[in-house]
Symmetry: C2
Subunit: 201 residues, 2 copies
């Protein structure tokens, strides 16, 4: 049986990871989303247990102690973590699992799971990234400047990923990611059983 | 400037490489076809300089002596070769080049050009492969039996390729190959310049 794909979508803060992932999940019902945990406050539209598990710092530290995370990291003073949620078992059952992780966390997962598909979302330009972070309305001028400075550093880390997708429009980015998933499923390394023809002539 | 993709489509004799490649070239006008040379006789529909350069054995040997081939091989008593045709120059200009090569020849190219995209076409079943080779009407019973036996051996060599595409229908196979090309163009290794953001804030 084909093992599922571990699909990791990452990108600098404000690149639109969440929106693109939502579009992919809506278009590809066979892909399951693995919900991350965070100690940051929910944005107005976000629901606990849907976009994230929203935890207190104490709860998050308890999950760390109980070894519930594949990886976790502190980003801008908040904790973010990828719960294990039996990911390996689900992949072995053939389930494709999508993870949306920050740049730092995704590289930690890549070290543990090199078979995954690591996709880095790029903003069309830094100007566009700036206006997206501003438009979110959750940043004060100081944290905005800090995020933009860090975005440049984060984007360089993208060179360690497998694929680079420019998020110019959500539809374009989602289409490109869908092509990547089609191609990855066709890799010979994931399809050895297809070569097993019988010589019964 | 982005370097072009060297796209190599191969598969056991009778898998339908030629038909699938024609469909891809029709759908993707930006992809150029590199015409192979052969000493085998043209099939009724084939035109010299379109499907192949049809050469005599003496002509073929002269091309070998003049170092006009990227690779060549003898298959079923006929020579097949991939003319250089300035392939490297064209790739550096950003041109995507499609090569349709037999199993043996494609692996020779892979050794010389590991950056290429190596796609192995599989028949849906050996029964289907048999009926396709018979349907071609160019085989006597002896050569048919020989081809089928060799097909099983050739298919095992496909494990050394990058991607495995089952040619169940031409449209399905062509769509999958198009997704592979989209994904390959998005590989970080081919897009380092996209990460070159200026820190002008």
């Amino acid at each position: 049986m084909r093992k599922g794909l571990l699909i990791v979508v990452s990108g600098a803060s404000g690149t639109g990871k969440g929106t693109v992932c939502k579009k992919i999940l809506a278009d590809l019902p066979e892909v399951a989303y693995s919900i991350s945990a965070t100690t940051r406050k929910p944005r107005p539209s976000e629901i606990d247990g849907k976009e994230y598990y929203f935890l207190s710092v104490d709860e998050f530290k308890a999950w760390i102690a109980e070894e519930k995370f594949l990886e976790y990291a502190e980003v801008y003073g908040n904790f973010y973590g990828t719960p294990l949620n039996k990911i390996e078992e689900r992949l072995n059952r053939g389930e494709d699992i999508l993870l949306e992780i920050d740049v730092q966390g995704a590289l930690n997962v890549k070290r543990k799971c090199p078979d995954g598909v690591y996709i880095f979302l790029l903003p069309p330009s830094l100007e566009e990234l700036k206006s997206r972070i501003e438009g979110r309305g959750t940043e004060n001028p100081e944290s905005l400047a800090r995020r933009l400075k860090n975005a440049v550093a984060e984007i360089k880390i993208g060179l360690e990923y497998d694929y680079a997708v420019v998020n110019d429009t959500i539809d374009n980015a989602a289409e490109q990611i869908k092509a990547i998933l089609t191609a990855e499923r066709l890799k010979v390394a994931r399809n050895a059983e297809k070569f097993d023809f019988k010589e019964g002539f």
